[in-house]
């Protein structure tokens, strides 16, 4: 088994009385794409800042690429790429000038390497454009190129896709898959539930605690024990109330334009229909569904 790229043990960070990260432990293997899922304020960014040695842990420790993340933070940062939530680009510089500037910060001055990095993220044709005129999707790719310019083995991406449209998000993920295929390990945070499905393993954070970390399919199997049903019915709100009270229903929630119900017992279809009809709800469609990471998150958050 290869050496893990990241080993985290009991990592904790307090700000005054507030526990931002609460005794989390996990390891990451080379070439993995690990997602870190959680709402704002759940401790995702604080964790990354500790792994990069930017913030001192209150307790516990982390080894990143074999170095102690806090005591040997320079070695860590020299070998890791980091794209932060609010990446700072110079708006009044061109694309290539931005990358050249940040390359210099990492000691990369080779023009070929810089050109290759731009090509890697698909921005070669735009190297002379002013950064301020770039779309959100392109800015994000420029920020990624900056994180990649020194050829890191490990890449930290902190909510890289916030605020970009679905087309740009999918393209960005195609780039991430490409990097992972080349052996780069990727740790990425997101608050998009669907995006976490793209990762090989997903950690779910809430209130500073790592509630679970596993493959999406295993998280679903282990957390959602019953069946999932998709309910298209009118009026929606009455259907929701009826199902909340129905026997054996573990959870019911809105899913797009319909409801998703997680039931504890198998063969729930008849019981669901009965509960809906008794409440005077018209059922248009009742079909078995697949559990999502949102179901997992909601189930874990309730416990």
């Amino acid at each position: 088994m290869p050496e893990p790229v990241v080993v985290v043990e009991n990592l904790t960070r307090k700000f005054g009385d507030f526990v931002a990260v609460d005794h989390i432990s996990f390891t990451v293997q080379p070439g993995e794409i690990v997602g870190y899922l959680g709402p704002n304020g759940s401790g995702k960014t604080t964790t990354i800042r500790m792994l990069l040695g930017l913030l001192k842990p209150t307790a516990g420790h982390a080894l990143v690429l074999g170095f102690d993340s806090f005591r040997q933070s320079e070695q860590v940062r020299a070998r890791c790429g980091y794209m932060s939530q609010k990446f700072a680009l110079y708006d009044d510089l061109t694309v290539i000038e931005n990358l050249t500037f940040y390359g210099g910060v990492y000691g990369v001055t080779d023009k070929t390497l810089i050109a290759e990095t731009l090509a890697r993220v698909g921005l070669s044709r735009h190297e002379r454009e002013m950064t301020r005129s770039l779309s959100a999707g392109w800015r994000q790719r420029l920020a990624l190129s900056i994180a990649l310019v020194h050829r890191p083995k490990l890449l930290f991406l902190d909510e890289p896709t916030s605020g970009v449209d679905p087309t740009a998000r999918r393209k960005f993920w195609d780039l991430i898959y490409g990097l992972a295929a080349e052996g780069v390990t990727v740790l990425v945070t997101t608050h998009y539930m669907d995006e976490a499905e793209y990762c090989e393993r997903v950690g779910i954070m809430r209130d500073g605690k790592l509630l679970a970390l596993d493959q999406p399919a295993r998280l679903k199997q282990e957390t959602i024990s019953g069946e999932v049903w998709e309910v298209h019915a009118q009026p929606l709100e009455r259907a929701l109330q009826a199902l909340e009270r129905a026997e054996g229903v573990a959870h019911v929630g809105l899913a797009g334009d319909h409801l998703r119900v997680v039931v504890q017992h198998p063969q729930a279809e008849a019981a669901l229909r009965w509960a809906l009809q008794a409440a005077g709800v018209t059922v248009a469609l009742l079909t078995p569904g697949e559990a999502t990471l949102e179901d997992v998150f909601l189930a874990l958050a309730r416990n």
Partner: protein
């Protein structure tokens, strides 16, 4: 049709060289939840700020409940409730004091604000926390208080600017249930019906709106009900499962009838040309097997709004 609660015609707004909103028109009727869906910079926030009268359009017209927002500002604004992306509460005031403050700013008298506040707090589920300081509330409760404040004037038109971005899924669920209840079963005093205009970057939330507009570069790429938008891609999205993903993808991209292939977790979603689904389902598995791949499943799936958005937005490259 009854008079629309919000009507905008040919709105245009520039900031310096940037065209933020470009010839945008929309109409929203009572009982509707209308979604503005798009990325940062698409023009969602500017549109909302134009509709609440916080910004003036360069050209175009806005009517709120029949009042011209330019010439009858007071009457128009009296019907508007607004929750901005970064609303602020007074953390050292209690829940009730916060509502009182904002109610008085909006010109409600002491006799009016108290009964309304209690009614609205019950509606959002904060009736037991009237004396708690806002700083002591959880994120979800703060958001509900923000909503209560926007509702205390009994607006007929509620504008919500990305209220759920980055918010806990459990809180998002609660929030949406309130919005749906607000339009389907409005609290007392809004008897003639309420409309909501909400902006969001989440496609699952977009699907909850009665009608929505996909925004890009200040314009609507397309507007309609979720069903209408999805029907544009009916029988054109296939889900492909198997291994390894790289071979599946190469084979799919080589197929002349496949317009786009994207990884979606452990599977691929393919968009095929109109009418080509049966042919692709018939031939693609053989191509994959010939390359040494394995196909577990290849089938038509109902298109999602994300598929529609991607198909609509012309590639930037």
């Amino acid at each position: 049709m009854t008079q629309p609660l919000a009507k905008a015609l040919h709105l245009r707004k520039t900031f310096g060289q940037t065209l933020a909103v470009d010839d945008l028109s929309l109409e929203v009727a009572a009982g509707e939840i209308y979604g503005l869906v798009g990325a940062d910079g698409a023009g969602k926030t500017t549109t909302i700020r134009l509709l609440v009268g916080a910004l003036r359009p360069d050209s175009g017209q806005i009517e709120i409940c029949g009042y011209d927002l330019k010439r009858q500002v007071e009457q128009a604004r009296a019907h508007i409730g607004y929750l901005s992306q970064r609303f602020s509460l007074y953390e050292d005031l209690t829940v009730l004091e916060n509502i009182r403050f904002f109610a008085e700013v909006r010109g409600l008298s002491a006799e009016e604000w108290r009964p309304r506040s209690l009614e609205i707090l019950e509606f959002v589920g904060l009736e037991q926390f009237t004396e708690r300081r806002a700083g002591q509330l959880s994120g979800g409760m703060k958001q509900k208080l923000g909503l209560a404040i926007a509702l205390v004037t009994r607006p007929r038109l509620l504008l919500l600017d990305e209220p759920t971005t980055g918010v806990d899924p459990a809180t998002r669920q609660d929030f949406w249930q309130l919005i749906i209840r607000l339009v389907s079963d409005p609290p007392k005093g809004a008897g003639e019906g309420v409309a909501v205009i909400i902006s969001t970057p989440y496609m699952d939330e977009a699907a909850r709106c009665h009608r929505l507009g996909f925004m890009r570069s200040g314009r609507f790429l397309m507007e309609g009900t979720p069903g209408e938008l999805r029907s544009a891609l009916k029988e054109r999205i296939l889900e492909l499962r198997g291994e390894p993903l790289t071979i599946l993808r190469q084979a799919a991209e080589e197929d002349v009838d496949v317009e786009e292939a994207h990884a979606f977790g452990d599977r691929l979603h393919l968009r095929v040309r109109p009418g080509a689904a049966p042919a692709v389902i018939a031939r693609l598995p053989d191509h994959i097997r010939a390359r040494g791949g394995r196909v577990d499943d290849l089938r038509l799936i109902p298109p999602g709004l994300e598929d529609v958005f991607i198909a609509l937005s012309k590639s930037e490259d």
